[in-house]
């Protein structure tokens, strides 16, 4: 089968090219990737390669001739004996271009890049470009299919490709003559050419980010980033941000929490002792952890979790604390707080903070609590209520310190703790908040 090498379009502005020098002669054996000629376009001289193996049948253009893009310049007989194992022509110019040989599909567009290549015998302007009509595919990194099958029975484009070309206002025959569309052309070839031709890379990036289709934009003219931006604004297109694993698990957890039969209970704790004993390390949050732990040890209901046919009563006070990192919420667990001093708790809190920053919390860090605390007091919010974490029986939402004291709202799972028990627990919290002995002990 005869394979015709055509003058490729090497730049947008190129209409014709001069054949500077032939690297092959009729009768030479060439293989896929071999450099066959040098072509001058604009100011650069570029090498062109063949994408078929075979024997050179004839050269259609003399060196030094200028021909329009798409003109046939050489014929290679791909069926010639030994074509499959064709060895390169004797002068084997590609031996000097290892990069060109291993990656024939790569275009080296800039002369200065080519200058880095180890080819002392060539002028520095020389760059390597393929002579295949699939030049756009090559630019886009698409592998070149082994072109026309032996069973191919004619025709230049599939019906779907023709339908798309008509819709996009593209002239398949002309583009194939120019060598920018393969023969036969399929839908993907048309679409790729169209997108490449009419959309700037930045516009495409935006279209991809917003999950839009290029078909939303009128065909036949160029579209840039600004236009896509306008489209997004006028059509109120939201930016779809995929949920990462952390967000997904948070949503699942909250959906579970929303199913729990809960009630709320609010009161205020006296803030004076907190103010007196708080320090840079032993913050209000640290004191709250210790204080709630103490109350939990005196009220077993708040050390309970619900299983299928039992409630589990846990021996120590294990509290999960709501901590934010960006838009994410984590509930790391502080274990056996009843046995820890305020200093130890403060240290643990610091450790969790750095783990959170590094996103290095382990599953172990996030399980094993029976009660939760969410403290938004530092933001000045007066009062709020919280969602119960995982298997916890309740959570305390802490508001800002005001004249009346610190606002505490309990959200309690009614299946585990009744209102009366919760009221006693609240009473305990209030008593501890004014119990200086407790603060003194815990500060040790």
């Amino acid at each position: 089968m005869d394979y015709k090498v055509v003058m490729p379009r090497l730049s947008d502005s190129m209409d014709e090219g001069m054949l500077v020098d032939w690297k092959i002669r009729p009768g030479d054996r060439v293989k896929n990737g071999d450099v066959i000629a040098e072509v001058e376009s604009d100011k650069a001289v570029m090498e062109i390669q063949t994408f078929k193996s075979g024997v050179v049948k004839s050269l259609l253009v003399d060196a030094g001739t200028v021909v329009p893009v798409g003109t046939g310049i050489a014929v290679i007989d791909t069926d010639a004996a030994g074509a499959a194992e064709a060895v390169p022509a004797e002068k084997a110019p590609e031996a000097q271009h290892p990069a060109a040989e291993t990656k024939p599909a790569e275009v080296k567009p800039a002369p200065q890049q080519a200058a880095d290549m180890p080819k002392p015998a060539e002028p520095p302007e020389t760059v390597t470009v393929p002579s295949s009509p699939d030049i756009i595919d090559i630019i886009l990194g698409k592998e070149i299919s082994e072109a026309i099958p032996s069973s191919f029975s004619g025709g230049s484009a599939s019906p779907r490709a023709r339908e798309a070309a008509a819709r996009y206002g593209l002239d398949i025959d002309a583009l194939q003559k120019e060598g920018v569309l393969p023969v036969p052309a399929h839908f993907d070839d048309i679409k790729r050419y169209y997108i490449r031709r009419y959309f700037t890379p930045k516009a495409l990036e935006l279209i991809a980010r917003y999950h839009l289709s290029t078909d939303l934009f009128e065909s036949g003219r160029k579209h840039d980033e600004a236009e896509v931006k306008r489209y997004i604004e006028t059509h109120e297109i939201p930016l779809p941000e995929p949920l990462d694993i952390a967000k997904r698990s948070m949503i699942a957890m909250l959906n579970e929490a929303a199913k729990k039969p809960v009630y709320h209970m609010s009161d205020t704790l006296d803030a004076r002792l907190f103010e007196r004993y708080e320090s840079k390390e032993a913050t209000v949050t640290v004191w709250l952890l210790r204080l709630f732990a103490e109350a939990m040890m005196r009220h077993r209901s708040f050390r309970m979790t619900l299983d299928t046919d039992t409630v589990q009563v846990w021996p120590n006070a294990d509290i999960s604390l709501a901590m934010a990192e960006g838009e994410l919420l984590y509930m790391p667990v502080f274990r056996s707080l009843n046995k820890k001093s305020v200093a130890e708790i403060a240290q643990e809190l610091q450790q969790y903070k750095s783990k959170l920053k590094a996103r290095r919390l382990s599953p172990d860090d996030l399980t094993g609590s029976t009660f939760g605390i969410s403290n938004l007091g530092m933001t000045g919010v007066a009062q709020f209520d919280a969602m119960i974490n995982k298997n916890d029986c309740a959570i305390a939402a802490i508001g800002a310190q005001a004249q009346a004291g610190i606002a505490v709202t309990l959200t309690v799972d009614h299946r585990i703790v009744n209102g009366y028990q919760a009221a006693l627990f609240m009473q305990e919290l209030k008593a501890l908040a004014v119990d200086e002995m407790f603060f003194k002990e815990a500060a040790k």
Partner: protein, 325 residues
């Protein structure tokens, strides 16, 4: 549940629900059917409703036609497709035509069931497929059960339908395992998307659906594209809507059938694609079918005569590569 158990259950349930449902055929009663489809039913419903007939296919279908005209819901079993040829006069001239000839006054609520296709060395006279002939007869509904769940729901529909139905099974499917969703609302005329994909539509039916599913991973690996596999289920009428939606998405269609290629049923699907879907086609529609030879007895030659997962994968990959994939 096995395919044959699903068929058994469908017959059992319709017999329990409707006293006019009767089964007739060779060895369907005491023996429980050549492929055990009617196993245990004679003990439940008696010899009056599970009628063992002589080896005379024309009379089996002829009697069923008469029963249907007189108000029963007969389910006639023919042991294998090749033997149905003896009953073609009754199937084509009578079963398919009476409603038309009587200006709609006579309904024929009947089913003719048989297995077809290449099994294991049953040779040329017991391995044929006749969906192409039966689908060409106006007045007949032709269903092809390639899936256990579909087999259960479609046979129940066929028995309770007032229209004559040819219900095609496949010799190698009787022991196929599958889940049956008894509460599912299955439209027997709707093609089944067995697997979703975006680049190639592969249409098939009966056992070839399984072979296609075996071939698909290799095709997808080789081409780096995804295949959508469609089980036609109803061969007449055809669910062109489902095919159209799939083909619009993929632009490429392959039909895989076990029958001989020349004059085979798959030609109907590819000709539809060419006639109706021309401007959606990104590659020539192809058929992968059996060779134009009587099915050989020799196992090696038998497999050489029909599509196998390996052959299907190879052909689709080659075709894809030479057509822009």
């Amino acid at each position: 549940m096995l395919y044959r158990e699903a068929l058994n259950r469908a017959i059992d349930e319709t017999m329990a629900a409707d006293g006019t449902v009767v089964v007739l055929g060779e060895d369907v009663g005491l023996y429980g059917g050549s492929y055990r489809v009617t196993e245990g039913l004679v003990a439940k419903y008696g010899e009056e409703r599970l009628i063992d007939t002589p080896i005379a296919e024309l009379s089996i279908v002829g009697n069923a036609v008469g029963m249907a005209m007189a108000g029963l819901r007969p389910v006639a079993e023919i042991m294998t497709a090749n033997f149905s040829l003896l009953a073609f006069d009754q199937i084509i001239n009578h079963m398919a035509k009476y409603r038309y000839m009587s200006a709609g006054k006579i309904a024929l609520p009947m089913v003719v069931r048989f297995p077809q296709g290449v099994s294991r060395q049953l040779a040329a006279q017991h391995s044929e497929s006749y969906e192409q002939m039966l689908s060409a007869v106006p007045g007949l509904i032709v269903l092809a059960a390639g899936d256990v769940n579909y087999a259960y729901h479609a046979l129940k529909y066929a028995i309770m339908s007032d229209d004559p139905v040819v219900f095609i099974e496949h010799e190698l499917l009787y022991n196929k395992k599958g889940e049956v969703d008894f509460d599912a609302d299955i439209d027997p005329f709707k093609a089944r998307i067995v697997k979703e994909g975006s680049d190639i539509t592969i249409v098939s039916y009966l056992k070839m659906v399984d072979d296609v599913m075996e071939a698909v991973p290799q095709v997808e690996k080789e081409l780096g594209k995804t295949c959508e596999v469609v089980d036609l289920c109803s061969l007449n009428p055809v669910d062109y809507k489902t095919l159209e939606a799939s083909l619009k998405k993929t632009g490429r269609i392959v039909v895989v059938e076990e029958d001989h290629k020349t004059g085979g049923y798959g030609a109907q699907i590819t000709s539809w694609a060419a006639e109706e879907m021309f401007y959606s086609l990104d590659a020539p529609p192809i058929r992968i079918a059996g060779e134009d030879v009587p099915i050989p007895y020799n196992r090696t030659l038998e497999l050489a005569a029909i599509p196998t997962p390996e052959k299907i994968a190879k052909r689709i990959a080659e075709w894809g590569k030479t057509n822009g994939l």
